[in-house]
């Protein structure tokens, strides 16, 4: 690259520096078909076929039945509670997760390594254990005198606990990789620390923050184990969708269970797809 291909020859001779880098595609001959084939097969067996079956089961007694199953008062209450609590939880963790990631990357304090490891605990812990821990800490016999058992606040608390790692763990590596010289360049151009954060750092973190939030949200709407103990499963009050599905199956209403499952599935898909669209729209850069 010795000539500036991007500047038309009609212009006066430009400075050197070469043209834009050609984008090359890396490909292994013959490997593509095999790779795509196994990926699709695996994805079908593990994800697509089971999901299709659920969707199919939900409408095998007609769309009217599907609608009635979803809008029974207890199912509808469980669904709105789940989606509402999940949105709230995702937003709280968006903020708190980003702050925690920031502290873990940019600050130095004793015990940082321990805290860094602890972040993953909600991932590693069986969720029912998390539920038990939360119940003994915030239950009727709370040593803190804070009883959140059988309340919606308890549900939110449980969801916050299990979804904490998502935003932290998606933002942390991006923040680590972030070019510190960008911030220094901004400073030398006159930007205050706050302006540098808002104009330089934040825009570079937003994609990671959004995908962490989407993961936290989708995980929340499906959560069962951690909420089942502390919520007390009071229909119309604290029963979440996953628990409602479980009770439908116990009551031998498989079609109804499948219908609610399908709604959750669609909500999750919509969340993921709109996030993806948002990111594509926001990052036309290569």
């Amino acid at each position: 690259m010795t000539t500036d291909v991007a500047v038309p020859p009609a212009l006066p001779p430009g400075p050197p520096g070469g043209g834009a880098r050609p984008r090359s595609r890396f490909s292994v001959p013959g490997g593509t078909a095999l790779g795509v084939g196994s990926a699709v097969l695996y994805l079908s067996l593990i994800v697509l076929i089971p999901l299709a079956v659920v969707a199919w089961r939900s409408v095998d007694q007609g769309p009217g039945y599907f609608w009635r199953a979803v809008t029974t008062p207890d199912a509808w209450a469980a669904l709105t509670l789940t989606v509402g609590a999940s949105i709230l939880v995702a937003l709280i963790n968006l903020v708190m997760g980003t702050i925690i990631a920031w502290v873990l990357v940019r600050d130095r304090f004793p015990g940082k390594a321990v805290v860094d490891t602890l972040i993953d605990l909600p991932f590693a812990l069986p969720t029912i254990v998390a539920g038990l821990v939360l119940l003994s800490l915030y239950g009727p016999e709370s040593p803190l005198g804070l009883n959140l058992a059988y309340s919606r606040a308890g549900v939110v608390l449980a969801l916050l606990f299990v979804t904490l790692p998502f935003v932290v763990r998606t933002v942390q590596p991006v923040l680590l990789e972030l070019d510190k010289e960008m911030e220094q360049a901004a400073a030398s151009l006159g930007a205050s620390p706050f302006q540098t954060f808002r104009r330089i750092i934040l825009p570079n973190l937003v994609p990671a923050m959004l995908s962490g939030t989407a993961l936290a949200f989708t995980r929340s709407i499906a959560e069962f184990g951690s909420t089942v103990l502390i919520s007390g499963n009071l229909p119309f009050k604290t029963q979440v969708a996953a628990v409602n599905i479980f009770s439908q199956i116990e009551g031998d209403n498989t079609t109804g269970a499948a219908a609610i499952s399908t709604v959750l599935l669609v909500v999750a898909l919509v969340a993921l797809v709109s996030l993806d669209l948002l990111q594509r729209w926001g990052s036309r850069r290569g």
């Binding site: 220094q184 360049a185 400073a187 990052s283």
Partner: protein, 321 residues
């Protein structure tokens, strides 16, 4: 003086990086901070920019004590080796950044940015993102971005260090021309003596955190203050206990007055120049001669010759250990 650095000391932990460094940079000049890696030249540049704080000493920019001033308030333009491009902003917005921070009117920003992009020949690239540019283009964008705020001094930290050799050579010629056009006081860091000699008006040689010599390229090349500077600025060889440039040595097949006897160990032809490798008093030395001269002498390995520095050649007597 655009920049006055006085008695600056700086340590990272227990390692001293700058030791009693004092330099003056004249307004409108193009100064190179030259030295080996780890010599403290980048640190000095960052101290001037306010990106590092000196432990002791002062930095004055345009007569104002800037030692404790935040980088935001020094009005310096800084160009980084790895461009430090704002990845999420277009080329236009990158260059406009400093002006947007200063809340200049939109029309004025647009006009100024387009002027600068023209100056660095990137006007066609205004709407691209940095990732769509080559290294050389990114560095030109970074330069335009730094110039946008009309800095009192422009500081460049190994600006061409990440580019390949060809682009580097072309860009440094271009930087010299740009400086002749813009006249902003410029200090750049380099470890490449050829780059410093070709581009700068003044060279500051830094090694081990200390200023070894300050002078014009010709001065530091022809009158090096010490063996280190002489070695760093160009090729040297040792004859008769003195450090001499290999092109400043006469070689003859007959014994000459003041000459030292030497045995030719190898004759290497490198295009227009010929490198004659010698054994002088049991030590290796070499002499650079033209091809015509070498042919005339018909040197071959094993020949005994006489060598001496050309009259008027600069040489440094090495202290005997």
């Amino acid at each position: 003086m655009a920049i006055e650095v006085r008695d600056v000391n700086k340590s990272f932990g227990t390692t001293p990086v700058l030791r009693d460094v004092s330099i003056d940079v004249e307004s409108g000049s193009l100064t190179a901070l030259l030295g080996p890696s780890g010599g403290g030249k980048s640190t000095l540049l960052r101290v001037i920019a306010g990106l590092e704080q000196p432990d002791t000493g002062t930095v004055r920019i345009s007569g104002v004590d800037a030692t404790r001033l935040a980088p935001q308030r020094r009005n310096v333009g800084f160009v980084f080796q790895h461009y430090a491009a704002f990845k999420h902003l277009t080329v236009f917005r990158n260059v406009a950044f400093g002006l947007e921070i200063r809340k200049r009117p939109k029309d004025e920003i647009r006009k100024r940015v387009m002027e600068l992009l023209e100056l660095v020949h990137l006007e066609q690239m205004a709407d691209r993102y940095p990732s769509q540019l080559s290294g050389g283009q990114r560095q030109r964008m970074a330069l335009a971005r730094a110039l946008a705020v009309e800095p009192e001094v422009l500081l460049l930290d190994e600006p061409f260090g990440a580019l390949d050799a060809q682009v580097r050579k072309e860009l440094r010629t271009w930087l010299r021309r740009l400086h002749d056009e813009v006249h902003v006081t410029t200090v750049f860091v380099t470890h490449d003596q050829e780059e410093a000699i070709e581009v700068a008006d003044t060279i500051v040689v830094l090694a081990d955190g200390e200023v070894e010599q300050v002078g014009s390229p010709a001065e530091v090349y022809d009158n090096p203050a010490n063996p280190f500077v002489m070695r760093f600025l160009g090729p040297v060889t040792e004859i008769g206990g003195s450090l001499v440039r290999p092109h400043d040595i006469e070689i003859s097949t007959e014994p000459v007055e003041g000459g030292t006897a030497a045995t030719v160990s190898r004759v290497v032809r490198l295009g227009f120049e010929v490198r004659v490798e010698l054994q002088v008093e049991g030590r290796d030395a070499w002499v650079q001669v033209t091809r015509g001269f070498a042919d005339q002498l018909a040197l071959k390995s094993g020949d005994v010759v006489s060598v001496r520095p050309t009259p008027g050649a600069r040489s440094l007597v090495l202290a005997t250990v």
